[in-house]
Structure formats: structure tokens, C-alpha cells
């Protein structure tokens, strides 16, 4: 593989990693599953990889059901931690399969109560198939299909054996399927990417205290745009923005008012190749505290640190 090709491959990997963590995963673990994109993307020359991603985020505030941003009240706080073990394997020349296993912890404080808990989150399996590769043609961009499935291996927030503030809630309590299309192209050291993802969850039926709720959340649509720059040293920097939107939920066959979602996330980060086999990546992300940018969401700000080992 030529030096230029190697650099390009690394850059693509960097790009994938920097933009790669699902926008859904920026939200609280109890309320959003992982999607069709994970950090476990193989570069062109790689056949397999394993990695570990550490994530920490704090609550900055919240967006109400009219989109108004409000700071967290005095005495209330939330810290979200996550450790994701992931692996990817090239199963076809153009196809790769990835598995992500998250551990999720939350610390919540409210009035005089403070609580810490966690556990296994929702395991995610996803498949990426590249019809064309970025940079292979000046005209035709890289086009990849993304397919993800999230399994309800975590505990939903209404599980029976949770602590009062539900800090040990680690999952959404439903299956989630995601389908996406990624288009990306290289222009010298610059890489551009646009990705669209549609996700749907299975309905939940919960019976508690003699009351049954049957809720179907609306499909979620996510658009993501990113740009990355690769330096001659193969260090890469990237900036991405994602916007996810979701219609109103249906409860007991009726549309639930004030239940739609929006979530805007800005991410910037970098990747540092340590050797041919090892790379480390870091990113900062935030849901901008601007009214109207998100709806019915907690606003978070945080960081990720990822270590990857790959095999060619």
C-alpha cells in the first residue's frame, strides 16, 4: 500500500472514529440506544480491531417540551460515565461487522439525595457495507450502507429493582433497529462526510400499579455532517454536527402531546496514530445550550477517549 493510500486509510479511520459515536449515545443511556455507527470502523487495509472507549459527560441543563433551554436547578446534577468495549471484523471485502458492549454508570444528585449506580448497557451490533470508497474516484464519492441492531440488555428506568433515582438504569428496554447511508469524499487532506440514519424501536408495554401503558416511540431521523483534516504526520482533526429529530410518541393508540424530540450535538476531536497497530482518539462534545436547538432532552457536555488496536 502506498504512503498516500496508507495515509488516506488512516484518515478515513480517524474520520470514522471522530464522527463515529452515534448521536443517540450522546443522550442519556436510559433514553437512547446506540445507532448504526460505532467507533469500531475498520480502515481500508485493516481486517480486525478491538478497542475501548471511555466517555464522561455532565448535565449542563435541559430543553423542555417547547425547546426552551434551562439550567439545572441548584442542587441538581448528573454525571454520566460509559466504558465501551468494541470489536470489528471484516467479513467481506467491502463489509464489516462490529460489536459494542457498553458499561454505563450514572451519578445523580437531587435535593438531599445523591446516588451512583450502573451496569451493563444495551449491546449493539452493526454492519457496514461500502459500495464505493471515498477517494477512489474524483467524481463518485464513497457510499456506505449502515445497519444496526441494539439489544435490550440494559435495565430500563422503570425496572423493578432499581435505586430511587434510577442511576442503575442502563438501557431503553426495547429493541432498536437503525438503517443509514453515509456519503464521504476526500479532497487532498480534507475529508467530508454526510450521513443519514433512520431508527425505530419496538413498542413497550408496562403494567405497574394496575395501570398499563403501551407506548410506541416515533421513528428517529438523524443527519450528521462532518469535516476532517489529516496532517502529514497522520494526526487528524475533525468537527462534526448532528441533528436528530423524532415525532410524537403514541400511547395507547393516541398521539402523546409534547412528546417529540430534537437533539443537536457538536463534536470536535482528534486522532493520534501511535503505531501501525495502535491509535488513540479524543473528542469533546456538547449539546449547545441554545433554546430551539434541542427538544425534550437533557443537555450534556463531555469527552471521549478511545484506544484502538487493529490487525491488517
Amino acid at each position: 500500500m502506498s504512503s498516500r493510500h496508507s495515509k488516506f486509510a488512516e484518515a478515513l479511520t480517524a474520520f470514522a472514529l471522530l464522527i463515529g459515536w452515534s448521536p443517540n449515545a450522546r443522550a442519556q443511556a436510559c433514553c437512547a440506544g446506540t445507532g448504526a455507527i460505532t467507533p469500531a470502523r475498520l480502515a481500508l487495509h485493516e481486517s480486525a480491531l478491538v478497542g475501548l472507549q471511555l466517555k464522561g459527560a455532565i448535565e449542563l441543563g435541559s430543553f423542555n417540551d417547547r425547546g426552551a433551554y434551562q439550567k439545572s436547578p441548584s442542587g441538581a446534577s448528573e454525571l454520566d460515565l460509559e466504558q465501551d468495549a468494541f470489536a470489528a471484523l471484516r467479513v467481506l471485502e467491502r463489509g464489516q461487522l462490529a460489536l459494542l458492549v457498553p458499561l454505563v454508570e450514572t451519578r445523580r444528585t437531587s435535593h438531599a439525595q445523591s446516588e451512583f449506580g450502573g451496569g451493563l448497557g444495551d449491546v449493539n451490533l452493526n454492519l457496514r457495507y461500502d459500495f464505493t470508497w471515498a477517494g477512489a474516484s474524483r467524481v463518485i464519492p464513497g457510499v456506505g450502507a449502515l445497519l444496526g441492531v441494539t439489544l435490550p440488555t440494559g435495565k430500563p428506568a422503570d425496572a423493578e429493582d432499581l435505586r430511587p433515582l434510577a442511576t442503575d438504569a442502563t438501557g431503553i428496554g426495547a429493541y432498536q433497529a437503525s438503517l443509514g447511508l453515509a456519503v464521504e469524499q476526500a479532497y487532498g487532506p480534507w475529508l467530508l462526510n454526510v450521513t443519514g440514519i433512520a431508527a425505530a424501536r419496538t413498542a413497550r408495554t408496562i403494567t405497574t400499579a394496575g395501570i398499563t401503558v403501551h407506548e410506541q416511540l416515533a421513528p428517529q431521523w438523524t443527519a450528521l455532517a462532518a469535516v476532517a483534516y489529516v496532517f502529514p504526520s497522520e494526526v487528524a482533526l475533525a468537527l462534526s454536527a448532528s441533528y436528530a429529530t423524532e415525532g410524537k410518541a403514541t400511547i395507547d393508540s393516541k398521539t402523546a402531546p409534547r412528546s417529540g424530540h430534537r437533539l443537536t450535538t457538536i463534536t470536535c476531536g482528534g486522532v493520534l496514530p501511535l503505531s501501525d497497530a495502535w491509535r488513540v482518539q479524543g473528542a469533546l462534545f456538547a449539546n449547545p445550550p441554545l433554546s430551539g436547538s434541542s427538544l425534550n432532552q437533557t443537555g450534556l457536555g463531555g469527552a471521549t477517549l478511545t484506544l484502538v488496536h487493529s490487525w491488517t
Partner: protein, 145 residues
């Protein structure tokens, strides 16, 4: 959902129902504000429901006590001896809570929920079934910061 799960939820439902009919357990501290946070009409239109909260009104996240003052819309008489079943729910997130609030009738037509743990910001529905002389339904909706 497994059978034991159903059994335990049924037991919880029974406990909540029994609480509504028996003497008060440990009540929330402080006094509810005089002015209601919300004034609602039940689904059938027969009952008026005033909602007050403690320790803050409007409530913030955490352990909340809520008072439902229920009366007949036409006569204004308190609706006494109702059995209430309550399920807190976040419609935008698709989940409820793991903790069931305790419930008792603190005065004729005045029902108090304690340990309503609204642990995260957002819109919470307090889905409430009313049974007794009438069978009705009301859903106070709280915006939690």
C-alpha cells in the same frame, strides 16, 4: 414479562390501592401551597382535580409529594373514598419509574402521593385512575427541571 414479574407488580398495585383506603403512612413534610399548580377536569368531565406539590411548586426533580384535591364538578362536593392508582410516566422517553408512590386520603377528597420520584428533567405524566363512586381518569402533567 415473566409471571413472577406480573405477580409482584400486581402486589404493588394492591398495596397502592390499599394505601388509598387506609390510614396515612408517613406524610410529606410541610404544607402544600394554597394556590394549585394545575386545575384539571377528569376525562369524563365529572370531576375537578386541583394539583399541588411539595417541597417546591412547581416541582423540581427528585422526591416529590403531590396533593390531588378532587371534587364533583357540578356540586363542588369532595370526592371521598376513591381508590387511586398512579403511574408516573415520561412520554418523550418511553419509561416510568421503578419506585411506586405511596398514597392516602389525608382529608375528605384530598389525596396525597408521597415518594413520587421524578428523577430526571422533562415532561412527566402522572397517569391516575380513579375508582369508587365513579370510574375516571386524569393525567396531571408536570414539567420537571
Amino acid at each position: 414479562m415473566s409471571t413472577p414479574h406480573r405477580s409482584s407488580r400486581a402486589a404493588l398495585a394492591l398495596a397502592v390501592t390499599l394505601c388509598a383506603c387506609s390510614g396515612p403512612p408517613a406524610a410529606g413534610t410541610g404544607e402544600f401551597p394554597q394556590d394549585p399548580l394545575l386545575a384539571l377536569t377528569s376525562e369524563s368531565g365529572a370531576l375537578q382535580v386541583e394539583v399541588r406539590t411539595l417541597p417546591d411548586q412547581p416541582p423540581t426533580r427528585g422526591d416529590v409529594s403531590m396533593q390531588l384535591a378532587i371534587s364533583d364538578v357540578q356540586t363542588g362536593d369532595p370526592a371521598v373514598g376513591l381508590e387511586l392508582q398512579v403511574l408516573p410516566w415520561m412520554p418523550a422517553m418511553g419509561h416510568g419509574t421503578s419506585i411506586q408512590p405511596t398514597l392516602f386520603e389525608s382529608a375528605p377528597g384530598i389525596y396525597q402521593l408521597d415518594h413520587l420520584v421524578l428523577f430526571m428533567p422533562g415532561t412527566w405524566q402522572i397517569r391516575t385512575e380513579l375508582q369508587g363512586a365513579v370510574r375516571d381518569h386524569v393525567v396531571p402533567t408536570l414539567e420537571i427541571r
